[in-house]
Every structure is written in structure tokens, then in C-alpha cells.
């Protein structure tokens, strides 16, 4: 974890850039990085159901404050532009976005980071809610990541009935292909994913001998990091952030 001292210099740049995604299509992305030559590790942030919103911009800057070159691509861009909420509602109304497209977009963002001169060559992926599921999926289906953080990603475990054209395979079925170490943060009161599904996921990770650590928080439900929502749980969130910085510093430094 980054410990700030009052005699330290601090500075960052945060701005909207364009990054190649699926099929080379340029996507808007929010990039935040510490000022200076680095080298720094990189992190791709996968935004949640409410879209490419203010919380994710704050989170991107938070990663930069902690010493990462952080990028958060707008995964909903193909649905058009508007307020993040309106765009996200449109995506929700068409059954979400295709897993193949997300995986390619996120891998494109990782490639972009690796090409930056400030990078130390290592890149992690972080996501919450639907983004947690997609982070796991991207880490299983590509070799783009050196660490993955899944925060309460629902529907990692999917039944046959839940599969759709856009989401045709349960992420759980890709577990064998996971190469990066995984950190999972979950709430005991969450219904998506419920603790039983988290346990099922954990059993699959164990079965394949994967490097992972899961933390299940009592007194927390879905989205307990979101300080702008009623679901926020300060103690669990601060502990979770601490575990996240520790995990990423071990695997990306």
C-alpha cells in the first residue's frame, strides 16, 4: 500500500484517450498515471453495470495514486454516447455486451499499457459486479494479465438456462485456463453471486490447483466498495482495499 509522507512529491495525470479494442476499433478510455518515468505496474479497470461512470473514474485515479498506470476503457461505447447512466440502461436493455467483445477490448487495453514507456511490463485486471465476472473471464481467456481481482462478480457460475448468444459459456468452465493469480472479494449477504456460488467457484479453483485467495465479508452485500451507494460498508471496504493493494504489490511489482 502506498504510504504518503508530507515531504513527498506527488502528481498524476488523468485524461481521456483512445485505445484499440475488439477488431482494432478505437474506444475512449480514462487513463491515470503517476507523473514521472516510472517504471510502474499497469492495471485495466473493467467498469460495472452502471457503466463508465464517476465511481470508475475515481477508482482509476485511486490506482494511479497507489502507483499504477491505470486504464478504464468505455466498454459500452458501441451503444452510443450520452450520460453513463443512459448508455448503461441501453446496454442493460439489450441483454448486456458480448463476452468475446469485452475480452478483446480488455486485452487491447492491456497491450496499450504494455507499450507505454512508464510500464514495468506487468499488468493486472480489476473489475466489480459484471466487471468482476469479465475480469475473471479475460484472465482465463487471454495471457494478457499477471494478476486478477474479481470483486463480487455475479454469474461466474452460470446454469445452462442463463447462457445466451452474447454470454454462451459459463466463466467457471474456463477455470483450467487461468494462469494469473486471483484475488476475490465477496459479501456474505450478496445474492449475485450468492456465497454458495462463490464456494463452487473456489472448489473449481482448488480442483485445478490455481493460485487464488478469496475473502468473504460478513455484514456486507453486493457492491460494498461503492461509497455513493447504500451498500457501502466502510470497515469491509477499507479492509478489502488493503488486501487488494497488498495482492497487487506482490504480483505486479
Amino acid at each position: 500500500m502506498h504510504t504518503y509522507r508530507t515531504d513527498m512529491y506527488e502528481g498524476m495525470i488523468a485524461e481521456t484517450i483512445a485505445v484499440p479494442g475488439d477488431g482494432g476499433e478505437l474506444l475512449s478510455a480514462y487513463l491515470a498515471r503517476p507523473l514521472g518515468a516510472g517504471p510502474h505496474p499497469g492495471v485495466v479497470l473493467i467498469h460495472h453495470l452502471p457503466g463508465w461512470d464517476e465511481w470508475y473514474r475515481e477508482a482509476t485515479r485511486r490506482f494511479a495514486y497507489h502507483g499504477f498506470v491505470a486504464i478504464c476503457p468505455n466498454l459500452y461505447q458501441r451503444e452510443g454516447h450520452g450520460t453513463p447512466e443512459d448508455v448503461a440502461a441501453m446496454v442493460r436493455g439489450v441483454g448486456g455486451i458480448a463476452d468475446d467483445q469485452v475480452v478483446a477490448d480488455v486485452a487491447g487495453a492491456a497491450d496499450y499499457l504494455r507499450a507505454l514507456p512508464q510500464l514495468n511490463g506487468r499488468v493486472g485486471v480489476f473489475g466489480t459486479c459484471s466487471g468482476g465476472r469479465q475480469a475473471y473471464l479475460a484472465a482465463c481467456r487471454t495471457d494478457a494479465f499477471d494478476a486478477v481481482v474479481d470483486c463480487w462478480g455475479g454469474r461466474v457460475v452460470m446454469s445452462e438456462e442463463e447462457l445466451t448468444e452474447k454470454q454462451p459459456v459459463s466463466p467457471l468452465d474456463y477455470t483450467e485456463d487461468l494462469t494469473a493469480p486471483l484475488l476475490g472479494l465477496f459479501g456474505e449477504e450478496d445474492r449475485s453471486p450468492p456465497p454458495e456460488q462463490v464456494k463452487q467457484h473456489e472448489e473449481e479453483l482448488k480442483r485445478h490447483g490455481k493460485d487464488y485467495e478469496f475473502h468473504m465479508y460478513a455484514g456486507a452485500g453486493h457492491g460494498f466498495f461503492y461509497h455513493d451507494r447504500g451498500a457501502y460498508r466502510v470497515e469491509q471496504a477499507m479492509d478489502g482495499w488493503g488486501k487488494l493493494w497488498d495482492f497487487l504489490s506482490r504480483h505486479l511489482a
Binding site: L49, T83, A89, M90, R92, G93, R155, G230
Partner: protein
């Protein structure tokens, strides 16, 4: 996108926003994370005109019991209208 519970229906009618009335093409009914109400999951309805892009929508987010009461009220009003022959 954590539940992905979606019912999408084509609708014919109009909705009103501060800028005025607009034609509707469909309604998306989801039981998923709301944007505004302080619930983990809510019954969300987006009345939309797809051709108008992301901003072409009217949104409501309802607590489940309210959504059921609304659905019943809609059916009740339609039934009364049919009974009255109007």
C-alpha cells in the same frame, strides 16, 4: 448486469420528458441493479425510442411490491375499460 433478468417488449405509444413527447418503440423491464433507488435489485422499466439513442428513454425504478401493485393496477384499468366497452 449481475442478474441479466430482462423482458423486452415492443410497445406503441408515447412518453413525456421535460423536452416534450416522444414516440416509444419498446420497453425494457429488468430485475437488476437500479441506478438511483437504494436497493440492491429493483424492478426497472425503461420506456425507450431506440432510434433516439441512449438519451431517448424514460426510466422508472420500483421496489418489487410497488411494481406488482402497478402491474395489477394496469391490468385492472384495462379490464374496466374493456368492460365499459370503451
Amino acid at each position: 448486469m449481475c442478474t441479466m433478468i430482462l423482458e423486452r417488449v415492443a410497445v406503441s405509444g408515447a412518453g413525456k420528458r421535460p423536452e416534450g413527447w416522444f414516440e416509444l418503440s419498446h420497453a425494457s423491464v429488468t430485475y437488476d441493479h437500479p441506478f438511483h433507488v437504494r436497493l440492491e435489485h429493483a424492478l426497472n422499466i425503461d420506456f425507450a425510442n431506440e432510434a433516439a439513442g441512449p438519451s431517448g428513454r424514460l426510466a422508472v425504478e420500483l421496489e418489487p411490491d410497488s411494481a406488482r401493485a402497478l402491474a395489477e393496477a394496469i391490468l385492472q384499468a384495462l379490464e374496466r375499460g374493456e368492460e365499459a366497452g370503451v
